[in-house]
Homo-oligomer: 236 residues x 2
DNA sequence: CGAGCTCAAATTGTTGACAGAATTTCGCTT
DNA sequence: AAGCGAAATTCTGTCAACAATTTGAGCTCG
């Protein structure tokens, strides 16, 4: 079972385009709702439209772009409703992830999470206004738990699909004043539950944590503009 | 429940191949692990390899086929571990689905679920040996709840991705003797909770229901053969 | 001055052909 | 006769060109 871990990367052009284009979308280089014209992208990546279209189809499955026949692709633009829906999905999946992680996570990974939270604490003390990096750090915490839960299907769904969407929208909504500190405390409690191998508690705490984040977004976008662009044909 | 409601079906060749090929896989016409050669499929569907490859990429995202560079595609063949992992994902997602459905499902849909369960009861009395159709009916119950939960992301994930996989493996493991009757009772209780708009209870009952189904599979495959074919590179 | 129509340009959908990798076949050696 | 290795075949990855649809600019007309 050659896992080609080190030797050769038998990577296809479609794979490379997928990675690069996903990065461009998630890091905000391409704006939500922006139209993606195949000739443009084709020229940009130095690739013909064949592999490009395969990459687009995969990005569509990851919900990072939306497409409609004969009209092409656009960068996804979640409405407020859809963003909150994403949090509900995360609550369900990450709750389960956390329950399983309590049973399966290794001691090394637990130690790694512990040092990660220490880093977050020092960052939080130094620069409490800028929650920018904290947000990325928050996702890092969740990411590591997902990777260590021992259920490869869960890990893939969360890390490949949903976290990319979260990263895309992380820029949009900065946390409210007290949120980063509270989030850190919640992370600490979750980690305690993992140390004690208490899956039931770990799940409850993770679900509450994500629900708090959801509430934060819900109030911040109270009378906010629905992200306008081009998600007409999302749910017919 | 064909989409594109009324006017014109702006469907592309890739779409059609996706549907047809997915049906062939899910209904067992193509065996798990079987290799899918592009020229063969190309000829079979009367389509060139371009749209075909796009369809394959989407089926890969739906986890119905696995691919590796330069080696092509194969029909997915879940190991016992992966099948149980799928049940864990379902437990999380459908629990949440059920909670939301308790808040959002319409009276008509509730009535529809009620008559569906009545049908299942009569079927169960008539032919208790053949749980074949019951299994399909079981999925139908879950399918309808997913569609009515009011969270389009959850509906899509479950109906487009996971239920297809479940249908594929429904043939493999028939239920143990008393299971169909118990499953029906569990469905009835879930429906009661939905009628009472008790989201918390509905979630708990749905999770227990899916866990029971998981246990059923786990015991049935106790010393069973790992589905052999070709899922070497699934989690590197 | 704006709404609607027409036609041209650009874009998407699709195809067939070529290059390189993987698999199979066949012959050779021991 | 069995195992190994090399050549041939098949298949995947990629590209450039053709067909069909959409977009948008310019014009006409109310």
């Amino acid at each position: 079972m050659a896992a080609n871990g080190s030797s050769i990367p038998p990577t296809t052009l479609s794979d490379q385009v997928l990675e690069t284009l996903q990065a461009a979308i998630v890091e905000g280089e391409l704006e939500p709702g922006q139209r993606l014209r195949e000739p443009d992208l084709s020229k940009r990546f130095g690739v013909s439209r064949g592999p490009l279209r395969e990459a687009l189809r995969r990005l569509e499955s990851r919900r990072l772009i939306t497409t409609a026949p004969n009209t092409g692709a656009r960068v996804v633009a979640l409405s407020k409703t859809q963003l909150l829906a994403l949090y509900d999905v995360r609550e369900a999946l990450e709750g389960m992830t956390c329950r399983l992680a309590a049973e399966n996570i290794s001691e090394e990974d637990l130690a790694g999470l512990s040092t990660l939270l220490d880093q977050h604490e020092t960052e939080l003390e130094r620069q409490d206004g800028r929650d920018y990096f904290r947000q990325e750090g928050d996702l890092d915490f969740h990411f590591r738990i997902a990777m260590a839960c021992g259920n490869s299907m869960l890990s893939t769904i969360l890390c490949t699909d949903h976290y990319q969407l979260m990263r895309l929208y992380r820029y949009k909504f900065s946390a409210s004043p007290g949120r980063p500190a509270r989030a850190l405390r919640e992370h600490r409690r979750i980690l305690e539950a993992l140390y004690e191998r208490d899956g039931e508690l770990a799940e409850i705490l993770m679900r509450r944590h994500i629900r708090h984040a959801r509430d934060n977004v819900a109030t911040l976008t109270e009378a906010d503009v629905e992200t306008p662009a081009a998600n007409a044909r999302n749910h017919p």
